[in-house]
C-alpha cells in the first residue's frame, strides 16, 4: 500500500509542476537587468503624463514633418471646392502609380475592389455595402484626395493611416482605375 501512496504523491507533484505552464502569463526571466527600458516605450504606461500613458495627442497646433496644409473644410462646400479646384502636386509617372497601387491594395481594395468597381471582398460578403463603382461618380483628383482625407458618408478618414503624399499616390491610381472602368 505504501508503494501505491508514493506513486500517487509522485503524480501529484508532476501535475503541480506542469500546471505552472500558464499561457496567459509571460514566462519568468533570469536577471532581467536591461530588459525593461528606463525611458518610456511606445504605448507603454508612464508617470510622466497626467493620464499615465505614453500615447499622447499632439499639442494643438503641432505641425509634423512633411505636413502639407489642407485648407478645404470637411463640409459639402469644401468637397465641391476640392472637386473643382484642387490639383495634385505629384508628377504623373509609373513610380508614383506603382506606389499608389501597393497602397490601394492595402487600404482601399478590401471594399472598393482591386479594379475599383466597388466589389471588394467585404462587399461580396455583404459586410460593408453601398460602395460605388468609381466610373459612376463624377469624381476628380481633388475630390478623391478630399474623400481619402476626410471620409464620406460611411467611409472613414484615412488621413491617420496615409500621409498626404501617399494619399496623392493613391489618388493617382484611383484615377487610372476610373479611366480603365469607363465604358
Amino acid at each position: 500500500m505504501k508503494a501505491f501512496k508514493n506513486i500517487l504523491a509522485g503524480l501529484a507533484v508532476a501535475m503541480v509542476l506542469f500546471s505552472c505552464q500558464d499561457k496567459q502569463k509571460p514566462n519568468y526571466q533570469f536577471f532581467p537587468n536591461m530588459y525593461a527600458p528606463v525611458g518610456y516605450e511606445a504605448y507603454g504606461k508612464s508617470d510622466a503624463f497626467a493620464n499615465g500613458m505614453e500615447a499622447q495627442l499632439p499639442v494643438p497646433g503641432t505641425i509634423n514633418r512633411d505636413f502639407v496644409p489642407y485648407d478645404y473644410p470637411n463640409t459639402p462646400e469644401g468637397y465641391a471646392a476640392a472637386r473643382d479646384s484642387l490639383k495634385s502636386p505629384l508628377e504623373k509617372n509609373e513610380v508614383n502609380l506603382e506606389k499608389g497601387k501597393a497602397l490601394f491594395t492595402i487600404y482601399c481594395a478590401v471594399c472598393h475592389g482591386d479594379k475599383g468597381d466597388g466589389k471588394g471582398i467585404l462587399v461580396q460578403n455583404e459586410k460593408f455595402l453601398g460602395v460605388p463603382d468609381y466610373s459612376t461618380r463624377p469624381i476628380t483628383e481633388g475630390s478623391i484626395f478630399h474623400v481619402i482625407t476626410y471620409g464620406l458618408n460611411m467611409m472613414g478618414s484615412h488621413a491617420s493611416q496615409l500621409s498626404s503624399n501617399e494619399r496623392w499616390e493613391v489618388t493617382q491610381y484611383v484615377e487610372k482605375l476610373r479611366a480603365d472602368l469607363m465604358p
Binding site: 499561457k23 532581467p32 459586410k127 460593408f128 455595402l129 458618408n153
Partner: protein
C-alpha cells in the same frame, strides 16, 4: 377639314390609349417592383448611407412609401437639392434634420430601378439564419482530432498505471496466501536482479553516463526557455479576432497596423481605425461556435463603442473616451533594436514570417521565440532582394563579387554585426 379632324381625333385616341397603358404599366410596375433586383441596386447605391431599419447617415427607409408619395421620392432620389430649393416643406425638414448633408443625386436611376429599390425597402428583410449547430460541427473536427489523441494517450497512461498497481497487489495477496498456507517461499539460488546489476561495474557506468546526459539535456532545455515567451497568449480587454478580420475578411495587416510600413513599431491601431468599418458594422454576421457566439462578438463591438464614445442610436460621438489597455505580446528586451519598417518595407518580409499564421488565430499569441538565435538564423538564410534596386546597384555588385555568390544573404550584408541590433 373633316379628314383632318378625324385624323386628329384618331391621334388623340391613340395618345389617350398610350397614356392609359403607360400609367397602368407604371402602377403595375410599382406594385410588382422586383425586390431581388432592388436589393442589388440598394446595396450598391443606397447602403452607403441608408439601412432599412436603422438610422445611419440618412434616415431608416422602412415604410417610406407610406410617408411620401412616389413622385416625391423619385424627384428626391434623382436630385434632392432641386426639391429642397423648390421650397418643398418635407424636403426642407428632412434636410435640416440630417445636419444639412445633401444626398448624392442619382439622375441615372430609371423609374423601374426606383420601384425595385422601394420594393426591396418595403419587403420585410429576411430574418438572419442562425445556424450555430452547423458552424460548430464544421469547426469541431480540427480540434476534435487533437482532443481524441490526447484522450487516447491519457487513457493508455491510466491503464498502464492500473496494471502496475494490480500486479503489485496480486503479488502481495499471493504471498499472503502462501504464508497462510504455511508454504515458505525459498529463495532460489540466483542473486536478486538489482544486486547483479550493482555488481556489474560496466552496466553501472553506462547507466550513470546515460542518466547524466539525459538530465543535462532536460536541464538545458529547461534553462533555455527561461525568458522566452513563445506561445504567450494573454487575455485582451476587447476580444479582437484576427481570424475574422485578417482571415475571413482578408483585411491587409497594414490596414490597421499602418505604421509598420514607416516606423519602428508596428503600431497598435487607434480606435478611429476600428471605427472606419465599425461605424456601420454593429453586429457580427459570420460563422459562430458555441464558445464564440454572435452575442459574444456583438458584446465585444459594444465594448469598442463604449471605449471610443460612439452612440450607435444617434450615430454620433459623445466625446467620452476610455483608453483600451491592450496587453503587449511581442516584447523584445530594451537592449535590442528592431525596426518594423526595415523588415516590412525594405526587406519585403511577410508579417507571417515572424508572427505566424495570424489570420488563423482567434486569440493572438506569440508564434516565434524572438530569441537572438532565431534572428540570426533568419539573417543567415534570407537572401537580399537586389532586383531593380538601382540606388545600391554598385555595392550589391561588389558584394556579389566578394562572396562569389549570385545573391548574398542578409548575414553577408552585415546582418550579423553586433552593433546592427545592440547599441
Amino acid at each position: 377639314m373633316k379628314n383632318v379632324i378625324l385624323r386628329s381625333s384618331f391621334l388623340y385616341m391613340l395618345l389617350a390609349v398610350l397614356m392609359v397603358t403607360l400609367v397602368f404599366s407604371q402602377i403595375a410596375s410599382a406594385q410588382e417592383g422586383d425586390p431581388v433586383a432592388g436589393k442589388q441596386l440598394f446595396n450598391s447605391n443606397c447602403a452607403a448611407c441608408h439601412r432599412v431599419n436603422q438610422k445611419l447617415v440618412g434616415p431608416a427607409l422602412a415604410g417610406v412609401t407610406q410617408r411620401r408619395t412616389k413622385e416625391w421620392l423619385q424627384k428626391w432620389i434623382r436630385n434632392s437639392s432641386d426639391l429642397i430649393n423648390s421650397g418643398d416643406a418635407q424636403a426642407k425638414a428632412i434636410f435640416e434634420e440630417f445636419n444639412k448633408v445633401p444626398m448624392t443625386p442619382f439622375p441615372l436611376l430609371s423609374d423601374a430601378d426606383i420601384d425595385n429599390i422601394l420594393a426591396y425597402v418595403e419587403a420585410p428583410p429576411p430574418a438572419p439564419v442562425v445556424d450555430t449547430s452547423v458552424a460548430s460541427t464544421t469547426a469541431a473536427p480540427a480540434e476534435g482530432s487533437q482532443n481524441i489523441n490526447q484522450i487516447v494517450l491519457a487513457a493508455l497512461v491510466i491503464v498502464l498505471l492500473l496494471l502496475t498497481v494490480m500486479l503489485v497487489l496480486v503479488r502481495q495477496i499471493l504471498s499472503k496466501i502462501a504464508k497462510a498456507n504455511g508454504i515458505e517461499i525459498t529463495p532460489t539460488g540466483r542473486k536478486p536482479i538489482w544486486k547483479a546489476f550493482a555488481e556489474n561495474q560496466f552496466l553501472v557506468l553506462v547507466t550513470v553516463v546515460f542518466l547524466l546526459l539525459s538530465s543535462a539535456y532536460f536541464a538545458y532545455g529547461y534553462l533555455m526557455q527561461v525568458g522566452v515567451d513563445q506561445g504567450y497568449q494573454p487575455i485582451q480587454p476587447i476580444h479582437y479576432s484576427h481570424k475574422i478580420h485578417a482571415g475571413a475578411n482578408q483585411i491587409d495587416c497594414n490596414y490597421c497596423h499602418s505604421s509598420a510600413r514607416v516606423s519602428k513599431t508596428s503600431g497598435i491601431p487607434s480606435l478611429n481605425v476600428c471605427m472606419n468599418c465599425h461605424k456601420s458594422i454593429a453586429e457580427y454576421k459570420g460563422e459562430t461556435t458555441a464558445e464564440y457566439s454572435k452575442a459574444f462578438y456583438d458584446g465585444e463591438i459594444q465594448k469598442l463603442y463604449k471605449a471610443v464614445g460612439w452612440d450607435p442610436e444617434v450615430q454620433q460621438y459623445s466625446g467620452e473616451t476610455q483608453p483600451v489597455e491592450w496587453v503587449r505580446i511581442h516584447n523584445l528586451p530594451d537592449f535590442v533594436y528592431f525596426n518594423h519598417a526595415q523588415h516590412v518595407t525594405v526587406g519585403g518580409v511577410a508579417c507571417q514570417t515572424c508572427h505566424g499564421p495570424v489570420q488563423e488565430m482567434e486569440i493572438m499569441s506569440q508564434f516565434s521565440p524572438l530569441t537572438m538565435g532565431w534572428c540570426i538564423n533568419c539573417h543567415r538564410q534570407t537572401e537580399v532582394k537586389m532586383d531593380n534596386n538601382l540606388y545600391y546597384e554598385k555595392i550589391h555588385e561588389a558584394l556579389s563579387k566578394k562572396y562569389g555568390l549570385e545573391k548574398p544573404t542578409v548575414a553577408e550584408m552585415g546582418g550579423l554585426e553586433c552593433a546592427k541590433c545592440h547599441y
